[in-house]
Symmetry: D2
Amino acid sequence: MPATPAPQTDPIRAAIVGPTGFTGVHLVELLHRHPAAKLTYLASHRDELPDLRDEFPRLTGKLDDETAQCRPIDAGAIAEHADVAFLALPHTAAMAYVPPLLDAGVRVVDLSADYRLNDAQRYERVYHTPHLDAANLPSAVYGLPELFRDDLPGATLVANPGCYPTAAAIGVAPFLTHALVKPEPIVINASSGTSGAGRSAKPATHFISVNEAYGPYGTIGGHRHQPEIAQTLCRVAGKSDGQIDPLFVPHLLPTDVGILETIYLEPADEQVTQDELFEALLDAYADEPFVRVREAGDALPNTKHVAGTNFVDVTVRRVTTGAEGRPTVVVFVAEDNLIKGASGQAIQNMNAVFELDETLGLL
Amino acid sequence: MPATPAPQTDPIRAAIVGPTGFTGVHLVELLHRHPAAKLTYLASHRDELPDLRDEFPRLTGKLDDETAQCRPIDAGAIAEHADVAFLALPHTAAMAYVPPLLDAGVRVVDLSADYRLNDAQRYERVYHTPHLDAANLPSAVYGLPELFRDDLPGATLVANPGCYPTAAAIGVAPFLTHALVKPEPIVINASSGTSGAGRSAKPATHFISVNEAYGPYGTIGGHRHQPEIAQTLCRVAGKSDGQIDPLFVPHLLPTDVGILETIYLEPADEQVTQDELFEALLDAYADEPFVRVREAGDALPNTKHVAGTNFVDVTVRRVTTGAEGRPTVVVFVAEDNLIKGASGQAIQNMNAVFELDETLGLL
Amino acid sequence: MPATPAPQTDPIRAAIVGPTGFTGVHLVELLHRHPAAKLTYLASHRDELPDLRDEFPRLTGKLDDETAQCRPIDAGAIAEHADVAFLALPHTAAMAYVPPLLDAGVRVVDLSADYRLNDAQRYERVYHTPHLDAANLPSAVYGLPELFRDDLPGATLVANPGCYPTAAAIGVAPFLTHALVKPEPIVINASSGTSGAGRSAKPATHFISVNEAYGPYGTIGGHRHQPEIAQTLCRVAGKSDGQIDPLFVPHLLPTDVGILETIYLEPADEQVTQDELFEALLDAYADEPFVRVREAGDALPNTKHVAGTNFVDVTVRRVTTGAEGRPTVVVFVAEDNLIKGASGQAIQNMNAVFELDETLGLL
Amino acid sequence: MPATPAPQTDPIRAAIVGPTGFTGVHLVELLHRHPAAKLTYLASHRDELPDLRDEFPRLTGKLDDETAQCRPIDAGAIAEHADVAFLALPHTAAMAYVPPLLDAGVRVVDLSADYRLNDAQRYERVYHTPHLDAANLPSAVYGLPELFRDDLPGATLVANPGCYPTAAAIGVAPFLTHALVKPEPIVINASSGTSGAGRSAKPATHFISVNEAYGPYGTIGGHRHQPEIAQTLCRVAGKSDGQIDPLFVPHLLPTDVGILETIYLEPADEQVTQDELFEALLDAYADEPFVRVREAGDALPNTKHVAGTNFVDVTVRRVTTGAEGRPTVVVFVAEDNLIKGASGQAIQNMNAVFELDETLGLL
């Protein structure tokens, strides 16, 4: 549960670097309605610096002329205007901007994957490019408050988790920490709304490709979010890296937003009961403002219940098959991929870094 | 591969009993374009017998006044007009109509679940009502031509498979028959378009409930299609009933049609290669007109590729996880739940029963 | 432009009567995030009083047990807990509850149509039932702040405008008040998302009926929102009732929310320029926080730009056809039918009634 | 009504030039199921000639290796293999290929706009490029069989109408020819599914731009299909070009396919009755196999009723407004923009050119 917020006199001044993607515009909207933060600087790497309202007509009437105008990515200028910078840049592009921002005294919440993996070699294997800022990697805090809250207050660099890894970690962690399931096999069958594929126009994101369509995508078994999931599960289970390595299979949904993960686990002990599984969930999350444990009689998790919110819905079932009643633990987790899976969690992390109530601006 | 069709002089005369549901209207459209069959009789159990064009405005211009007018369900009258009757009635409602139709000399293709389970006790456990026609159960043929083609020519009663079971059986059978995977665990993560939920208006099928939504539904581990899948897999693997019992978890898609199943299997031998897995698929289906094996470089199965067709798309991947490279076999299967999963397969079965080319009217 | 808000010490206490529909749940969410109001009472006319979180799983985590529990519709009890009651009941059901609430000293914002028409006879013609509370009709204020702001401060009974009429009035009023267009013909071609059809499950709202579908609905020329539009246009134009009577044709969109109206008007003078038309819009709305005039180079109004917001987007074009260049004035208006078209406007009205900044809780 | 088909011994051999767009793939599917035609040649202008099954996975299993392989656009080679060529190329690209194909003796059905306007100057004004083949313009037949059937038998060059113009012409023509409406004003409020925007990936066709969105697009009053509509209406009304010039306003629908036009007309005589309007429709279309006149008690036209078919659904209402009962004629027309609005009509035209039953392969 978040600590009682320290009294805050001035609002937190926030910059967004790379606001023209989907996570950027969500950050703008969330900051706009935040009672203790204020958007002060939009920084774009485009040659022609846009007015963000031209990019996103829905922002007109929320942003004034000065705020809406993107400015260059200049660490010094950002430091003058902002206490914290959200980096909403593509993977591999963000890490170039972190050192100058940190040096200028700006706290950074990085929504890219650049500081999520704690090992530069692994980063290079996954992203096929050397890490440009290995020096700051050890100090980066993985910003998943429900699991690693204590790391956040006062942090200078937060690696904001990926959308799929957030749902997976929240869904699996309680069963690992309570030793109710085996560390393998873990099968994560995941589906994401199309905003997860980014804003650039590609054949795969053409309306006709996505509408009335559903199927797997990418290299099966090779999604780049999988190592992040593995790393987090190892950490919560107290294992060394590589000892837990889930199978992760993503699919594309004909929706704007939403992630639903159906996770198949093997119980550590065949006698585990469904009640014990729920107890583990409730023990982990009963006091969490953003995790809703759906109990046996409740509605099952669904992307629609969480769309537009920072909630994660989670439930669990013990199911048996076969004559001998072989048990499987089935976990369902739903979140909004752009809110709890990205921009909402980034705001939650900002709140935690500045020791505010984590729910500020998010409920 | 289907046998060469026998020369056919007169078209097959077909009746549809219960045409006001989604499978009914698809049967109408498929029969309308069939070169060797003719819709002759629509039979409804409604008190007020509808003109089917009022139920489905899209049928206007295809059906003439006489054909469009529903008549009572009268076995004698149907026998006068039809060689075969498609029963498109709800589960548990169909079995009352089968004995009189068979007695009157009409062949029956039953799209309900009433004759799919070969054991009346199991039927009663799943459908919570006694089977009313156990006498005809042994003679019912399970109409999945790709697996059990030889049963079809001349059959008098065909149990048309369920939509989920069709995809599951086609996706798993080759690996069981080639002994490449273990009989357990089998995890079937399935998603279906909303037409699978039927035509009646319920809160769960309200547009606002389904649109921009995705999640699991029903009793997890208790879907009534699961025993049908189990029975078929036991049969193809040469096991007695109950020895194979997959875990089946369905989800609802915000689309009109389409089923996509992502199936997780364990290899019988860790050394099995992806090539061997593909060989099993090709051995089973290379000559099948309606099963498209998507090879490694092809597009992955997607509901959109099969929508409106009688095709099933299937592919397989061998994926490893963990330091020791623990292998999992991942199968993807896509079909149109109303075509190959229902009405298209029913037409394919009719073709097979009457010893016509199975593809007639379906390509 | 809203007046500077009076200093507010205690939050406004708000009740919702009939919260189980789509407008009800939106009121809950808007009140939940309102900085100067507080939801205190949910009243339902159901026999079995629901916990609203069971009806709308998305509300879990926002409402506590006490707030979520619906209570009976009891004017005295509501008056104890609330300063204002939002009636989110069906048309013709709301008017029975207004007199006791007003008598008990509760201000009322009625989201139904029951107090929108200022003439009980006309109400009866449109809704086919006598008006049960003609006594309060004259004191009801039509709550469209952009046009009739002065009526709101201190009002005891606000008739919250319909979704279609809000868009139509905002789109047409400036041209009538500036005498730039003729009072007839006015053609309003309107399209609405499916939430406008209500939450009850009907064949017409089945997912399969709406998805991938678009067309007109209802009795063409006889939609019951038309008289409300006519009344408002007469009022802004200073005409007596019946002198302006637009043609209104609604269509159903395969979307959750959104209204888009394309309005065809005839210029009063053929020489009117597009600039003059924009000047009329800007004169009316440049200072309005919730009306965004989209100028010639801006994005055209689209339901997506306003979805989830209290904004109305509006633009205008002067288009000529024929050899002689016959001019037509084409207006496009977009809003979220459940926000500016219902619950958001209701909150805006509450703000105005209590002399708060109209934008509180809405930006 | 189509003439009785002449006996046909050999199937018509058909080529498609430019099959990689949406109209191309529909032509492939329609030819595949056509009983009297055969796809023999796919010609692409791409440097790397694709196998069409790689472009459209849904075609696998329908096309064999030889047919699926695109070949260069070589008029001589096409003439060797084909009796007719369908040009499914972009506007302004098609006209370069027509002369060599005609010279080689191949009949041409051009799905682009290049031969629809009968005046090269007007073409240049609309498409901003000179017409390259003015010589063949006079001999091009405008292929809208319901209005201009007599031009088709034996034609060598058919200009296949645009999607919007087809619906508009079918909806308006009967009232002009029966002199029931004035030639102006004519307001066509049109909406189209996203396939109408073509297959190339642009920000405007990104799933996130289109899904849950609805609004106008393009230059209001300046859509390039408008002159085609005007030309057709002038022709059916016996007016010289320019005398009828409708106002045409298109909107984009969040659906794959479908066009719905709501058309507002002024009656020639205020006394015209709704019955007279229906008589005009029935007089024009009662015997047309692809036009379904929806009478007063029938379902209103909806894109879903026509999706995937070559039907056009049309109905009419006489609506009055104002104290004096000012009448307006409101027409609704629905079609599938890719079938009756493009590829289906092209097949219908082919049937007519070769004097076959127009419905062959289309019902």
